[in-house]
């Protein structure tokens, strides 16, 4: 076979398309008298960004979009990320002028519809997580972690233990943001180990918890996709030590309508709306990480919280600040566009819909896990929740790493799972199918994984040099880090 593809030059950068004088849109002309400009010394010279006609712009970005793999492209079993379908009607609603074009500082009277939605979502999340009160302020999961820890901190300060309780316990399976958030909040991180079943080791935890402990950050179900059956003991142990329990709710999808953080004794939990509640990830945000607090911490929630007043003729909503609030953690109220979508999602599905999600998410994961165990090592052989963490250690022995398997999956048309996380599992492949995928899709994925397991035996090189069908193959990351080329 001769090479029939004409050699393609490198994709042009945006700067390559620069056409001085071209313009990508029209703008209105000045319709008021011009004033004098300030002193020349204040004024800018050139601004070196490209000039491109509208068609060139559209082609450039449309073309690049096609180089991206999204949920709408295919199966996206990225563990811990809950890549579920993003309903299209949410996008339309978010573009309504009465939502998109309202100013954060306009008076509450002129934004009652927006406030009603914020209030509504606070309410829904409180019910779903079993919380006393909710603030939508955090702009992502990690931001929610920070908010939650600042609440815990304020609580201990209030109780005169601000200076003594300086440590936060974090399981060895935890997401990196947990530890980083603790550090941002001025805490020292103490790692709590897992037991051989993949559970947080309760006895070890009891050892670690003490008068210096501010709190425990616990992901439930854990990042191994496992539900800790001793969760009540854990919360008790922490509370007995005078500390508080922070819940990382990134994996809430697994237990929607099955159990509530608040009922289990968590003091505060954040929820990732861009995971559990289907708001689009956007290639890395926006997200939202509302914090949901139990009685213990409700007064410390970040501002704003929306309150409802029924004393008048109809309900009136206003932005307020809880009594002992940790204050504002960003300029305005919340990622309203994200809040709106999550609200829409929950309202469409209702309570029954919440349970359907967890049922299908968990069933999908267990089915996938069952089918894959023949070919891949499952370190923790248990019923899993929404995701299953495999290890590519068998393949590693053949010279094929988790990374290689991941890259080869691309050739089969799938997005790879999360790799090398949690770090406690060597060669981890963390697979989360979500409730949105059908058995048909999961079967196709399992078939591909099995084929790759075969290839790893018969033709490891094929796997190790994958992907072969993508616009670029493996990129030189070392070069990128050693000689940073960060802009045109």
């Amino acid at each position: 076979m001769t090479d029939t593809t004409p050699t393609q030059p490198n994709r042009p950068t945006l700067m390559d398309l620069d056409s001085p004088g071209a313009r990508g849109t029209t703008l209105p002309e000045l319709d008021v008298p011009a004033s004098d400009l300030p002193d020349d010394g204040l004024l800018r010279g050139d601004l070196d960004i490209p000039e491109i006609g509208e068609l060139g712009l559209v082609r450039y970005f449309t073309g690049l979009s096609k180089l991206n793999f999204g949920i709408d492209t295919g199966f996206y079993p990225l563990g811990s990320c809950t890549m579920k379908y993003n309903p299209k009607w949410h996008e339309e609603v978010a573009r309504l002028p009465g939502f998109a074009n309202i100013h954060p500082l306009q008076s509450p009277e002129s934004a009652q519809g927006a406030l009603a939605i914020m209030y509504g979502l606070q309410d829904l999340l409180a019910e779903i997580t079993g919380a006393r009160a909710v603030s939508l302020a955090p702009l992502a999961g990690a931001h929610g972690e920070m908010a939650g820890l600042l609440m815990i901190r304020a609580y201990h300060e209030e109780h005169g233990e601000g200076e003594t309780r300086k440590k936060v316990l974090i399981p060895d399976t935890a997401h990196g943001t947990n530890a980083a958030s603790a550090k941002m909040c001025g805490y020292e991180v103490v790692t709590a180990p897992s037991d051989p079943h993949g559970n947080l080791d309760v006895e070890a935890l009891k050892e670690l918890a003490g008068p210096e402990t501010a709190g425990l950050m616990l992901t439930l179900p854990s990042t191994l996709g496992l539900f800790n059956p001793r969760i009540l003991d854990i919360c008790n142990a922490i509370h007995d030590a005078g500390a508080l329990v922070y819940g990382d709710g990134a994996n809430l999808n697994a237990i929607l309508g099955r159990v509530r953080f608040g009922d289990l004794g968590f003091d505060v939990v954040h929820s990732n709306l861009h995971k559990t509640f289907s708001t689009p990830h956007g290639g890395g945000g926006p997200g939202a990480g509302p914090v949901c607090a139990a009685d213990s911490l409700a007064d410390y929630l970040p501002a704003p919280v929306v309150y409802r007043d029924d004393s008048g003729s109809g309900p009136q909503y206003r932005l307020g600040r809880p009594a002992k609030s940790i204050g504002k953690i960003s300029a305005f109220h919340c990622n309203f566009g994200v809040v709106l979508r999550a609200y829409a999602y929950i309202r469409l599905l209702g309570a029954r819909g919440m349970r359907d999600i967890s049922e299908n998410a968990v069933l999908n994961a267990n089915y996938l896990s069952t089918r894959l165990q023949e070919d891949y090592l499952l370190p923790h052989k248990r019923t899993c929740m929404h995701e299953a963490v495999f290890s590519a250690s068998r393949q590693k022995a053949l010279g094929v790493r988790a990374l290689d398997i991941s890259k080869r999956l691309m050739d089969y048309g799938f997005h790879p799972p999360t790799m090398y996380f949690p770090q406690v599992v060597p060669e981890a492949l963390m697979i989360e199918p979500t409730e949105c995928e059908s058995k048909r899709t999961i079967d196709a994925f399992v078939d591909a994984m099995k084929a790759i397991a075969r290839e790893s035996e018969t033709d490891p090189d094929l796997v190790n040099t994958a992907p072969h069908t993508t616009p670029v193959s493996r990129l030189d990351e070392a070069q990128a880090a050693r000689h940073p080329d960060l802009h045109w």
Binding site: P38, P87, L105, G283, T383, E435, A481
Partner: protein, 435 residues
């Protein structure tokens, strides 16, 4: 019948249960303590898409939209015109339904556009390097302050009192837990010591004024502290960049270039710095490199700064950020181009000056501040701004921010290219009537 967002049929579920060897789906949840298993969720009854769109549309109509109201409110969120192509770009579902581009081979779209974003932020701010964006302008500024502390190993920051009070509030909440002090000083009496990590200025300042940053830069640098600037990107098309003045870290609110005000979010924080500070930057960074066949491509780089690798020693806890909003900025800047952005800036400038000069002539109103300004200016009103704003609202006008706490009866007014002359004249007439 299950929801349209679940693809399995009953038959699928049955087959999967059998294959899994579980009698019923409920059994999968056996590890949840029985005492708390299966709570009754008291949620509103589910509704269809049709019904909810109708309901939400009605709620949306309860908000005074800037499409229907003349808006003179700014203070960190600005009503600029966003060309339709921007929404076309962000509406491509390959962009908005993808995750953070960890898998570079199938994420070149997000990666390359992020590289473009970084490039534009560098050029706008006059800095060497930029990241992929932060949550918003205020958290970007707070993180810049933390970064300055790490770089200088100092633990106090000086914030000018002309920085937005909202931003100052956020900075304070980020400093305190790490035991970092914060002094608020006037630019006129700026004293920087060798305990100070940085001087934080806003450009144009909170009151809309545009001043040289030279003296701030000098004061900071003399004390070996850094100059951190929160700059408005639209203003940067018209005025010297912070880089021109020697700033070390420049942040900004990206909403103004391509995203709607949407009640405060999602926005995106711009973040740029000098090259020598690169390894202390928070957030994601995209770099250009080549693949094993020599083809150019883009990857997330310098990830050893980040939480997923460094955990508690990372430069920040930020993970999910605001990539789609950054994409909107990139598309916006491409659409308007350098000439268009400068044109927008000039429209803002001239309209603000037209409005200010008209209002200044109204009996009872005055402009208490001096010096050049960009698209915002302070008006001293004959009555409390809260009263005036309430009356303006009835005339389909959203007035300026009430800043009576810092300037008696002060109102911070803003105009952009979306304010037609007719709107400005209506405002002036209405203010006259309210004198």
């Amino acid at each position: 019948m299950s929801s349209p967002y679940i693809s399995n049929t009953d038959a699928d579920r049955q087959a999967m249960l059998e294959a899994t060897g579980v009698a019923s789906a409920a059994d999968l949840f056996f590890e949840i303590p029985e005492s708390h298993r299966d709570p009754d969720l008291d949620l509103p009854a589910p509704l269809s898409e049709f019904e909810l769109i109708r309901e939400l549309r009605e709620l949306s109509l309860q908000n005074a939209s800037l499409d229907d109201y003349a808006c003179f409110l700014g203070a960190g969120s600005y009503n600029h015109y966003i060309p339709s192509v921007v929404r076309h770009v962000t509406g491509r579902s390959e962009f908005y339904t993808s995750y953070t581009p960890y898998q570079a081979e199938i994420s070149q779209g997000t990666l390359q556009t992020t590289y473009d974003f970084q490039s534009m932020v560098c050029h706008l701010t006059g800095m060497d390097v930029a990241n992929a964006g932060m949550y918003d302008g205020s958290t970007a500024l707070a993180e810049a302050a933390l970064m300055a502390c790490r770089l200088t190993r100092r633990s106090n920051v000086v914030v000018l009192d002309t920085v937005s009070p909202i931003y100052r509030d956020v900075i304070a909440h980020y400093m305190r837990p790490q035991g970092i002090g914060m002094s608020v000083l006037s630019p006129d009496s700026l004293a920087v010591t060798d305990a100070d990590a940085c001087v934080i200025a806003q450009y144009p300042d909170f009151y809309g004024r545009i001043n040289s940053l030279s003296s701030c830069a000098d004061a900071a640098h003399e004390a070996k502290a850094l100059l951190v600037v929160s700059a408005d990107p639209v203003a940067l098309a018209m005025f010297k960049s912070p880089g021109d003045y020697g700033a070390d870290i420049v942040v900004g609110e990206g909403q103004t270039i391509g995203s709607p005000t949407t009640f405060g979010g999602p926005y995106v924080g711009l973040f740029a710095a000098k090259t020598r500070h690169l390894r202390q930057m928070p957030g994601r960074i995209v770099g250009k490199t080549t693949d094993d066949q020599g083809r150019e491509g883009y990857v997330l780089t310098l990830q050893t700064r980040e939480q997923h690798i460094r955990r508690q020693t990372a430069t920040s806890n930020i993970c999910t950020s605001e990539a789609l909003v950054a994409l909107a900025s990139t598309a916006y800047l491409t659409a308007v181009g350098p000439q268009g952005l400068a044109h927008v800036a000039r429209l803002c400038y001239h309209k603000a000056h037209y409005a200010a000069s008209q209002i200044a002539e109204l009996p009872g109103y005055s402009l208490p501040l001096e010096g050049p300004f960009f698209r915002e200016f302070v008006v001293q009103c004959p009555r409390p701004p809260s009263e005036i704003n309430a009356a303006l609202l009835d005339s389909q006008i959203i007035g300026g921010l009430n800043i009576s706490d810092s300037i008696p009866n002060g109102m911070l007014l803003c105009t952009t290219e979306t304010n037609t002359r007719d709107q400005i004249d209506r405002l002036v007439d209405a203010l006259k009537d309210l004198a």
